[in-house]
């Protein structure tokens, strides 16, 4: 048996709920009107702004993409009447047995800033080829752009190259590390304009003592 709710209790509850409902509707209405008014009065979609900060860090990065030249083994054949042999990285080979080499060293910049490049050789012809200067052996290099514009600020190719090294010159002036000699005072880093070519030429006297000798070529990159 379902008992009947006392009529006075039901009536009070209903009144209470009605008041709550009216209040809720009133608050919602006020809120709606308020929002609508503010929306209508601006006429614009509100815009939030944000800042995105991004810093690209500078980097100096250089790389000998061609760091090897191998003439192999050979000699100056005096029975052919030769007194010396000239070998270089442009294909010249004046002796017997050595390889024809057609590629010099290539220095590439993967930096994101222009840099200066110095080159140093750990020794000259006396240390590398022949200990007797009277024999006349030589050890030289020349530096050019492997990609046009690599050493030319302001769009003038090659303008920042050391002009005295555009033809073969003895490395003797560049044996003091780390100074050596400035070969490019504005080495660019952009794609297809970031390679220098270092050609090497040696002249071996027939009187030079046989043996295997060595030299280190150091490239030093520094901020402008």
């Amino acid at each position: 048996m379902v008992g009947e709710m006392p009529s006075n209790i039901g009536s009070n509850t209903t009144k209470f709920l009605m008041v709550v409902a009216i209040l809720a509707v009133a608050i919602s209405l006020i809120s709606f009107i308020s929002n609508y008014a503010s929306y209508k009065s601006s006429g614009f979609v509100s815009v939030d702004t944000a800042k995105a900060n991004l810093t690209i860090e500078s980097k100096i990065d250089i790389n000998f993409t061609v760091d090897g030249v191998n003439w192999g083994t050979g000699y100056v054949n005096v029975t052919d009447g030769l007194t010396n042999a000239t070998l270089n990285t442009e294909g010249d080979m004046g002796g017997t047995g050595w390889n024809h080499v057609t590629q010099g060293l290539v220095l590439e910049s993967l930096s994101n800033q222009n840099v200066t490049i110095n080159l140093t050789s750990s020794n000259d012809a006396l240390g590398f080829i022949d200990t007797d200067s009277d024999h006349g052996s030589t050890y030289m290099w020349k530096i050019t752009e492997d990609e046009v514009g690599s050493c030319g600020p302001n769009g003038v190719p090659g303008s920042a190259l050391n002009s005295s090294l555009l033809n073969y010159k003895s490395v003797a002036d560049a044996t003091s590390y780390p100074d050596g000699v400035v070969v490019c005072n504005n080495f660019y880093w952009g794609v297809s304009k970031n390679q220098l070519l270092i050609d090497i030429q040696v002249n071996v006297s027939a009187d030079a003592l046989p043996g295997a000798r060595g030299s280190i070529i150091t490239a030093t990159a520094a901020s402008l």
Binding site: S58, V69, A212, I216
Partner: protein, 387 residues
């Protein structure tokens, strides 16, 4: 000789027995304004071949104020440079501290017959010590544009003095050394060692195409100035030069040097040429087609049969046809071209041959006369003996 053969020089040149030389260091450059007792730490990242031994060191007049967390690395890695500057530095201006990272090469390997390559990187820390009083350095940058396009100038102002400065910067626009416009900035104070970049835009709608110069002038008690040259372009190609003389004969080249006056790419540029005089139209032909990057100067060539021409001056109508941003345009001009007969080499051969013949005749003559003289004197001696 055989013995000497065995004394010939024997040498193995082997460059690059060692691994590829490659080295990177970041950051490459840091700049700081000097402050008494300034302290900071910079973390360096090094990129190197695996196993490569590296030496790290400091050089520069302020090297004693730098401490390195590591003096060496094997392969890639990180290290920290701690800087603690003194309370004062006497000499104003830029002081450069260089952090050197050097590949260490095996000396024994070198002694064993190799030439190796090696890389050293110097990253820089520049410390700017302020000058006494007021001192400003400025630089102005801009760019080329076409008529109607805005040109944005950026004026960098760096206060390198110990005192703050009040500045009223302006940019003056010049055409052929005549001032034709001004861009004015608001007055502002630049604090000691502060660096600001100020932007200003030039509306080029009322400018004619051509070359201009912008001069930034910053009055701060003294004057700081910098210039920037720029061009305002239009879709046009000019004829700079052309073949002014053509040989009469079959298939002759005709060159036209052209120059773009447009700050964008021009495609499909070629020329149509036809020759005429007062009475007759002669020949019509086209050159090769080419594209031009902004402001580029290039030579285009066309070939035509000139065997129907006689010696003399003819008119040539050169019409250039080209496209910029899919808009086609053409321009024409009439020039005078001289047609000449190709110089024949036979005349020179004839003169050379005649000269050679004369020389031979003279030599023979001399020889004959000498012989005749010798015979005469011999005969005289013989006749004396007979007496």
């Amino acid at each position: 000789m055989k013995k000497r053969f065995y004394l010939v020089f024997l040498l193995a040149f082997i460059i690059g027995i060692s691994v590829v030389s490659a080295l990177g260091v970041s950051p490459g450059l840091k700049k700081y304004n000097f402050q008494p007792g300034f302290e900071t730490e910079i973390e360096y990242r090094v990129f190197a071949n695996t196993g490569q031994e590296l030496e790290i060191y400091v050089i520069g007049d302020l090297k004693d104020y730098v401490e390195l967390s590591k003096k060496s690395l094997i392969g890639s890695g990180k290290f920290i440079a701690r800087i603690k500057l003194p309370e004062s530095i006497e000499k104003p201006g830029k002081h450069r501290i260089a952090i050197g990272v050097r590949e260490v090469k095996d000396e024994e390997l070198v002694a064993g017959g190799a030439i190796g390559t090696s890389v050293t990187i110097y990253t820089s820390i520049d410390i700017y010590v302020p000058y006494p009083g007021k001192y400003l350095e400025i630089s102005l940058e801009g760019h080329d544009a076409n008529v109607g396009e805005p040109i944005n100038f950026i004026l960098d102002i760096i206060s390198k003095g110990k005192e703050d400065v009040m500045v009223i910067p302006r940019i003056e626009i010049y055409s052929q050394e005549k001032k034709i416009g001004n861009l004015l900035y608001s007055p502002r104070t630049i604090k000691s060692q502060e660096e600001v970049s100020l932007k200003k835009t030039l509306d080029t709608s009322n400018y004619n195409p051509g070359k201009y110069s912008a001069a930034a002038i910053v009055d701060y008690g003294g004057l700081a100035t910098d210039d920037f040259d720029f061009k305002i372009g239009e879709l046009v190609i000019d004829v700079v030069d052309y073949s002014k003389q053509v040989f009469i004969g079959k298939l002759q080249p005709f060159n036209i040097q052209i120059e773009s006056g447009w700050n964008d790419m021009i495609d499909g540029a070629y020329a149509e040429i036809y020759f005429f005089n007062e009475t007759k139209f002669f020949e019509k032909f086209k050159t090769t087609s080419t594209s031009l990057v902004p402001w580029e100067r290039k030579t285009i060539t066309g070939y035509f049969d000139s065997s129907n021409f006689t010696q003399g001056v003819y008119n040539a109508n050169i019409t250039l046809i080209y496209y910029g941003k899919q808009i086609g345009k053409s321009s024409s001009e009439i020039v005078e071209i001289e047609f000449v007969k190709a110089k024949s080499m036979s005349m020179w051969y004839l003169i050379g041959g005649a000269g050679l013949l004369i020389i031979i005749v003279l030599i023979v003559l001399k020889f004959v006369l000498k012989n005749a003289k010798g015979t005469k004197s011999k005969n005289k001696k013989t006749s004396k003996k007979a007496k």
